[in-house]
Symmetry: C2
Subunit: 367 residues, 2 copies
Amino acid sequence: MKILNSIPKNDGYYMPAEYDKHYGCIIIWPERADSWQYGAVKARKAFSEVAKAISKSEKVTVLVNYEAYDTAREMLPENIRVIEMSSNDSWARDYAPTFLKNDKGKIRGIDWYFNAWGGLYDGLYFPWDKDNKMAKKICDLYDIDIYNMSNFVLEGGSIHVDGEGTIITTEACLLSKGRNPNMSKTEIEEKLKNCLGAQKVIWLKRGIYNDETNEHIDNICAFVAPGEVVLAWCDDKNDPQYKMSKECFNILSKETDAKGRKLKIHKLPQPEPIYMTKHECDGLINFEGEPTRTETERLAASYVNFYISNNAIIMPGFNDKNDIKAKEILKNIFKDREIIQIYARDILIGGGNIHCITQQIPYFKET
Amino acid sequence: MKILNSIPKNDGYYMPAEYDKHYGCIIIWPERADSWQYGAVKARKAFSEVAKAISKSEKVTVLVNYEAYDTAREMLPENIRVIEMSSNDSWARDYAPTFLKNDKGKIRGIDWYFNAWGGLYDGLYFPWDKDNKMAKKICDLYDIDIYNMSNFVLEGGSIHVDGEGTIITTEACLLSKGRNPNMSKTEIEEKLKNCLGAQKVIWLKRGIYNDETNEHIDNICAFVAPGEVVLAWCDDKNDPQYKMSKECFNILSKETDAKGRKLKIHKLPQPEPIYMTKHECDGLINFEGEPTRTETERLAASYVNFYISNNAIIMPGFNDKNDIKAKEILKNIFKDREIIQIYARDILIGGGNIHCITQQIPYFKET
């Protein structure tokens, strides 16, 4: 593994779209007691279901702290690799490397700085040192080179790309005070384009209501094809999400992508508001200084938080009346892929969803 | 990774000789304070030299505890993979899997039970749980299947094979009370033949004087080709090694291998007796209950403890007058391989040598 200090765009590397062919997928096993209720039992079952669904068409590697290796190995089928790697929590999307490829079929990773979604300003836990080391260690594992971007705070869940020069993100997250407060919007945009080999950044204002990541893009809007996005949608004017989604829609309607195309917008309905239960709150054990979670907390549920595997869409379900409707919409978009819906409340409680706990590795030619 | 409970020999699998083509090599990074003096600084340098020498002709992967990943990554060149994996100490020969192959180019591992060279009877440290888990985890890493032989205590350093049906070992080790005291010699022999796909076991009585592994074969005698061995040799009748080596020579002289061949025996001279220094003893920090090491302790040095890489022999040197002689003997045996001699006192202090800290992976076709 070479550690590179050059600019990916200048080296001919770019981030491919998630709907491009994958080599495999990385998942990190859930463990910490303040994220995953009652010993993470239900979360581990849900993570396992996601891993199994993805492993139907790509090689899944699950990374796990030393102490949990045995249970992970026991719960996961033999076609899934389980490898020890220390982490603070289990958000592969946010701190596994962002993978890039070039036109010769080689891939490289990016090592952003990860500070638990806001560091000491408004981050969600401390310390985050193990998470922050993972991108490098994962590139070492796959024996690929890595770009050192440790001077820039970013999580993988805060960006989506179409693979043809367009990046989409949210201002709420990327311009937040806990990330890169000394950089201007223009500087951040330049950084993204250089790192991801892109020409244009589309900025939405906000994401999903009460999303504690400062409103990551991957919960509100995702590319499903070049020139096409899905957008989390809410018809209830009394729901704070209504305005947030409407504002996104207005921006997207007026925008063009890097190739000059107008965007086709598919609205994905939101589930009814979902709240923590008392039983769930009681199943969490806080670390020193952390706020206690309560039943009044609305969870940032969204059907947009799906993973695109080589032959399927792995999407969340919430036992909500819109589960089937959302599934049908995605089926109409992804006609060649199976739509696998997994009951995801036990992932949602931890603060994210299926897209957040996965990171695709683009297909590459091994040397 | 499938966990198999069948018998390797019946499945067409056997252990290839070390001089067969390799896919790569595994090394475990030294750390523990009772094995490696003064923070393992010199040991890490020596391990790095070994890793670098091997990496000239095969892919080296260094496994390291979480805490030491950063220093390992810093000390090792970029062509060597560094991967986090918890261990109690750093003897890849003894608890990385014993790798087998079949005639279709597939490989599998064996997961023996490891109990730190004698368990609670005369083992060298406690606990050994992390070491004992490594074989399985390494097979998971390489995505290959593994035979569960956890009902049998064995270390990789206690066996050598010619790859053509012959195993060589020592009675001092394999019949020791701390390993499989309820099995007869015949039962142990049968187990070895079944697991390693072999037809014959040659039993030497003993190994190197004061070898705390209960005298592993890999410190006293090694196959260098089918029908050919090297044997650690001592001409000084006042040295306890004299009788031990002579007895081995007598057995080997009368033996034939699995193919009925007489053995050609190359004598490798021993270095002059080597003792711990006070400074070295002072640099070790004991765990509870461990005996203090002293200057009177003779170290089990031997030139036989070399590693055969794809294009080289990585052999120890001790700044001894026999360093050059031993090197020349190996050069005459391995005419097509470079002989790389590495000053190995800083490995020897830990209780083994270059062969003990390495484990080869046979060449295999990736699926």
